[in-house]
Amino acid sequence: MNRIESLFKKKQNGILSIYFTAGFPQLNDTLSVIRNLEESGVDMLEIGFPFSDPLADGPVIQHSSFKAIENGMTLTLLFEQLKDARQHTQMPLVLMGYMNPVLQYGEKNFIKKCKEVGIDGVILPDMPLDYFERELNSVFLENDILNIMLITPETSEKRIKYIDQLSKGFVYMVSSNSITGGKNNMDLQTNYFSRINNMRLKNPTLTGFGIRDHQTYKTACQYSNGAIIGTAFIQHIAEHGVEKNSIQSFIKKLRK
């Protein structure tokens, strides 16, 4: 069974997934970040491959992406770095990034390579649903890579059902209509969260965008199976580096 599906089978509450940009702050930090997050008790990782024009991202992830590109990060290099990752961790690993680098790598090669290095799922926020269904669904299925898709407060009920049908693993519930790193008040979104809850989707949900501290993490966990944290973590390692102690204390503070 895919590691993402196993995770949700064994744990339904308080799942914590951390996003970080590969190649940031240093080019070769990828494996240490993975190891240190695993030892801090994180449940799942989203490894971002950088893109020069990240449309859905706020200043913090934009900056980490530019820096990573400047450092020399490419998809080819990332796969090289991840070659031995499965010797260090059995956590579910998800790759996240924009379509253009994937197109240049070759979409099918990309999925096959994901399988080869032990990636479990992929999030490509700018891949259209109909395009996925038409062009790539079968390649994802063949390689047992899960395609994880986003829903937002503005997504219609009909479309949420369609996304849920096409999704495997979990549905990524974007907390508010915003780019990443927003400072929105989660309590204002509880109507949306309950609406999704009441739809009884076949997939579990994780809440992301704007989750940044214990309070927002708690709210996310109350309405979904857990939370995804990106911007706040990247800000932390930008300021404090990727040492184990510092990462552990960041995660501990979140969970309390």
Binding site: L55, A56, Y98, N100, D126, T155, I179
Partner: protein, 392 residues
């Protein structure tokens, strides 16, 4: 005349589509569902046409240039888009989209701008039609296009500096898209070219198609034949080019030539010649040719003309190029400058640096005396005086 329309998903052949994050889907869906019926609506068309006529100053003249014709030994006409209100063809699309936004009950307009021409046109339409207006402009462009920044402010628009990435047009577009994600309900994003996700390329092409409609009619009145041998237009994103081409595509006679900014030379590392260097990929939500690295990072282009300084082209132009329906060429910064000075002295018209690229291509053609050529003079050169002063 066959109309050039994308399919239902917004594809011209393999180009186009809507590669956008889910956060943008509802905004685009609303537009995709409604733009055609609004554009076809007769009261909309009436309002649009009357503003183009009485406010923007259309039809713009089709000027037979005796001097250019003599110089190049051919029949050369200039489509005077430079005589539009605000100084370029950009006003056609700005008025169209702001009218559309009103019909969608939007309260606020956002737009990106490079040289500032689209920003000024959008700010102008918003002033006229009383909508709140915010323009995103790269920090670098704000510095090099000061007069246009002031014009936008006088017109009541808020100008926001895009400080991400390379701080030019591509980044201003990113910032405008991010702003739209954050304000999905009451805001309409007026894209300035035939770029971006479906339905923008088709919508902008329709608003600009008035250019070729007029050329056809005016040429027929003047020569008895509405179909020239050549149409030449400069191309950044490609809005004036598609506007000038639209009614001549596939007519079996007219050769359509789009002139890109070669910058300091296609292989100099300082160029915006997308077709010469680009590979297929995705930029600003659309599949098209773009200048990028091997691993898919978008490369910052260069052109002396801020309006052509864009690393992609509209998907419709990728399609026209790949199917041979249009020819894409490029000229350098220097060739454009020379052509601008040439026209200024010869005809008393100071063209925009963008439009000068189209003029420069005349020097590279083997023309016959009977050839009828229409150059789309997309804008006037007032905004480029600082650059011209440096080189005159």
């Amino acid at each position: 005349m066959k109309k050039l329309k994308p399919d239902k998903q917004g594809y011209y052949g393999e180009f186009g589509g809507a590669f956008v994050p889910e956060m943008l889907y509802p905004n685009l869906y609303e537009l995709q569902e409604q733009y055609e019926s609004i554009l076809q609506n007769s009261s909309f068309q009436e309002e649009f046409k009357s503003l183009l006529r009485d406010y923007a100053g259309r039809p713009t003249p089709l000027f037979f240039s005796k001097n250019l014709s003599k110089h190049f030994n051919a029949q050369i006409y200039l489509k005077r888009e430079d005589l539009n209100h605000t100084g370029a063809h950009k006003i056609n699309n700005a008025i169209g989209q702001v009218l559309l936004a009103k019909r969608l009950n939007k309260k606020r307009i956002i737009a990106e701008t490079g040289a500032g021409q689209h920003g000024v046109a959008t700010a102008t339409a918003c002033a006229l039609l009383n909508l709140d207006c915010t323009i995103f402009m790269g920090e670098v462009d704000i510095d090099r296009q000061k007069p246009n920044v002031e014009r936008m402010r006088i017109l009541g628009a808020k100008v926001v500096a895009a400080t991400s990435g390379s701080k030019t047009l591509k980044d201003a577009t990113n910032e405008a898209i991010r702003e739209w994600i954050n304000n999905p309900v009451d805001t309409h994003y007026v894209i300035g070219s035939v770029v971006g996700p479906h339905p923008y390329p088709d919508m902008v092409a329709q608003f600009q198609s008035v250019i070729s409609q007029e050329i056809k009619q005016q040429l027929k009145e003047k020569t008895g034949n509405g179909h020239p041998d050549y149409i030449i237009a400069c191309m950044g994103g490609g809005s004036n080019a598609i506007g000038a081409f639209y009614h001549f595509i596939d007519n079996g006679k007219t050769k359509l030539i789009a002139v890109e900014a070669g910058g300091e030379g296609v292989y100099s590392g300082k160029t915006a010649a997308t077709i010469a260097l680009g590979k297929k990929g995705i930029i600003h939500g659309s599949k098209t040719y773009l200048i990028q690295t091997e691993d898919g990072q978008i490369v910052e282009p260069h052109s002396i003309s801020a309006g052509l300084d864009y690393p992609g082209i509209g998907p419709v132009h990728s399609y026209l190029h790949d199917t041979g329906k249009a020819q894409v060429v490029n000229v350098t910064d220097q060739e454009a400058l020379d052509a601008a000075f040439h026209l200024s002295k010869l005809d008393g018209i100071i063209p925009a640096l963008e439009s000068a690229h189209a003029l420069a291509y005349l020097h590279k053609m083997n023309l016959k005396e009977r050839d009828v050529i229409v150059i789309n003079l997309s804008g006037r050169g007032d905004k480029d005086m600082l650059t011209y002063q440096k080189f005159v």
